[in-house]
């Protein structure tokens, strides 16, 4: 009898485990298939991508789309390397600046009491609520007057502004995590506030900064609405804007677009994998304490 219950229990456990794995597998499929479809398309000739009846098992894999993309202008080539460098410079720089500004701001919110703090905080968050499409033209006019259209600087500035609210929020939560007394103790030990910050508070906040960083990076890396308005030539065009190079008035080269998409996705994926360890920890601390 006891054996029986045990068996039943074991069976139930096994079923649960299997159910969990199946559900996980299906979920991962739904996540991956539309994305992998893009990746696979970048290696297939156009005639197979849009086939009917469909070609489920690709008969041919080649690098034609990549070769064309890196090839000569006028034969399907686009300045991928320039776009990639632009994207990289703009995303990395804007992420770093957003983190610095966010650290200063987050520290202020976490460590100081001042009038209208909550209102200022929500107000800052709300600047992010302005739809890119509503902001793009007035922003363009302002930038054009200042003369920073089609420059790295212009886009970096815009992305810093986009990312600052969220970085402040996350980092603020982190600094609250560090007991005030700890920093005060360091100050008593002869550290300046500045030293105390770097020695005591910063190390604890590192994970939060990493996770804020990855979010900021991904936002800048993929942003399109503002970039399409503020960039114009190879001087500053980023890869999302470059995707549109594969469209003309009447045609669209989906294979080529997929190839550029893969070039965009892979660095972001690698970076996410590297930062993954800090990511969860970072979001945990940043979230609970407000």
């Amino acid at each position: 009898m006891a054996m029986d219950i045990n068996d039943k229990h074991r069976l139930k456990n096994r079923l649960l485990k299997a159910g969990h794995l199946i559900a996980l597998f299906i979920a991962m499929c739904i996540i991956c298939v539309p994305g992998l479809w893009v990746v696979v398309n970048s290696f297939r000739p156009t005639v197979e991508i849009m086939a009917k009846p469909p070609v489920w098992i690709p008969t041919e894999f080649n690098l034609d789309h990549y070769r064309a993309m890196f090839g000569a202008v006028g034969e399907g080539g686009i300045p991928v390397v320039r776009y990639f460098t632009n994207s990289l410079i703009i995303s990395v720089t804007s992420t770093l600046i957003a983190l610095l500004v966010g650290m200063a701001g987050g520290y202020a919110f976490a460590r100081y009491r001042f009038k209208g703090k909550a209102a200022i905080f929500v107000g800052m968050m709300l600047t992010r609520a302005v739809p890119g499409i509503a902001l793009s033209l007035p922003l363009f006019i302002v930038f054009a007057r200042v003369g920073i259209i089609d420059t790295h600087f212009g886009l970096i500035l815009a992305y810093v502004a986009m990312n600052v609210p969220f970085t402040i929020w996350l980092i603020d939560g982190f600094f609250r995590q560090v007991p005030k007394e700890l920093a005060e103790a360091a100050e008593i030990d002869g550290c300046t506030r500045w030293q105390a910050f770097w020695k005591v508070e910063f190390p604890v906040a590192k994970a939060g900064i990493a996770s804020a960083g990855i979010f900021a990076f991904l936002t800048s890396w993929n942003e399109y609405a503002l970039a399409s308005q503020l960039t114009r030539s190879v001087n500053s065009k980023t890869m999302p804007v470059g995707l549109l190079d594969f469209t003309s008035e009447f045609t669209l080269n989906w294979g080529g677009m997929s190839a550029l998409a893969v070039v965009m996705i892979i660095p972001a994926l690698i970076l996410t994998f590297i930062v993954q360890k800090h990511l969860i920890a970072g979001l945990t601390f940043g979230g609970v304490k407000g």
């Binding site: 996980l24 701001g105 709300l126 499409i133 509503a134 993929n222 399109y224 994998f273 979001l283």
Partner: protein, 298 residues
């Protein structure tokens, strides 16, 4: 030490203030002003043509605009809730896994690597009724012998857009909620087990309240940048057919850039900003309330 007259907190916040003012506030003032003019892009002088509330009055009288507005609210509500539920489910599934979590979490975030424009093109082709992946798969599996017009039928077109949006953004919820699950203290969970609570009861009464703040943070974050969905909708349906998927953003972009009526478009922009503000403030409130329950608020 304190030589400056400005309070320290202000100095620390100053860079953020300056940048946000330069990039967001000044342009907004400009567009706010222009929403009271008959501003046409192609005739820059028209920005001096003050017409008072005409643009707003016109919008308030325009049934098409309010339909688009309602549809946007509908889309936001459905998409955010679905993303929240699916994200929660996904986080629970991944949380249980003991091996290869780092890789699994990276895969979970895979859609976050896709630029919204790309997602638009991708799903436009996937949902193409004639040669798209979706219909091809359904027909090959023998589930239908019809070519389902995903992007045309009123209900299905909205569904397709929501599907694309949910696919792109569920990861954000999943990763934040997963962080919440990691932070759930183990003691109450053990205690619950000892007390013979069912897994559902444990989840309902211990885990869920604890991760509620994370859910609201995710909702707040997402409602802030939900207008990113514009890039997707623009490419997939551009509000069509026959206005069945027209959203406030597609209408705004068409009015502003294609018809060049920026004054009117900016008036729409202001109404859509209020919409975003409403959603965000609502979730902020909820967030604070759920923190209060945990005793974590200021």
């Amino acid at each position: 030490m304190r030589r400056s007259k400005l309070p320290e907190w202000f100095v620390l916040l100053l860079p953020a203030f300056i940048i946000l003012a330069a990039v967001v506030l000044i342009p907004l003032v400009l567009s706010f002003y222009s929403s009271f003019t008959a501003y046409r892009l192609t005739r820059p002088d028209s920005i001096n043509n003050w017409i008072g509330f005409r643009n707003y009055v016109r919008l308030f009288e325009d049934a098409g605009f309010w339909w688009a507005f309602g549809r946007t609210v509908f889309l936001l509500t459905i998409a955010l809730n679905l993303e929240m539920l699916l994200g929660l489910g996904l986080a629970l599934l991944v949380n249980k896994v003991t091996w290869g979590q780092r890789g699994l979490r990276t895969i979970m975030m895979f859609p976050m690597m896709f630029s919204p424009v790309l997602v638009g093109f991708q799903f436009k082709f996937i949902f193409n009724d004639n040669i798209g992946l979706m219909n091809n798969a359904l027909q090959s599996l023998g589930l239908t012998d019809q070519a389902i017009p995903w992007l045309v039928d009123g209900g299905l077109a909205m569904f397709s857009i929501i599907f694309a949006e949910v696919w792109m953004s569920t990861s954000v919820f999943a990763i934040l909620i997963l962080a919440g699950l990691f932070a759930v203290p183990q003691d109450p969970l053990e205690a619950a087990k000892v007390d013979g609570c069912t897994p559902w009861q444990t989840f309902r009464h211990i885990t869920l309240p604890f991760i509620m703040p994370f859910i609201y943070i995710a909702l707040a974050i997402r409602s802030l940048d939900v207008a990113r969905a514009y890039d997707i909708v623009k490419i997939m349906t551009n509000g069509g057919p026959a206005n069945r998927t027209e959203l406030i953003w597609t209408q705004l972009a068409r009015t502003g850039y294609v018809d060049a009526k920026m004054g009117l478009a900016n008036a729409m922009g202001y109404i859509s900003i209020f919409l975003a503000i409403f959603f965000t403030v609502y979730f902020f409130r909820k967030l604070n309330a759920s923190r209060q329950i945990l005793g974590m608020a200021d």
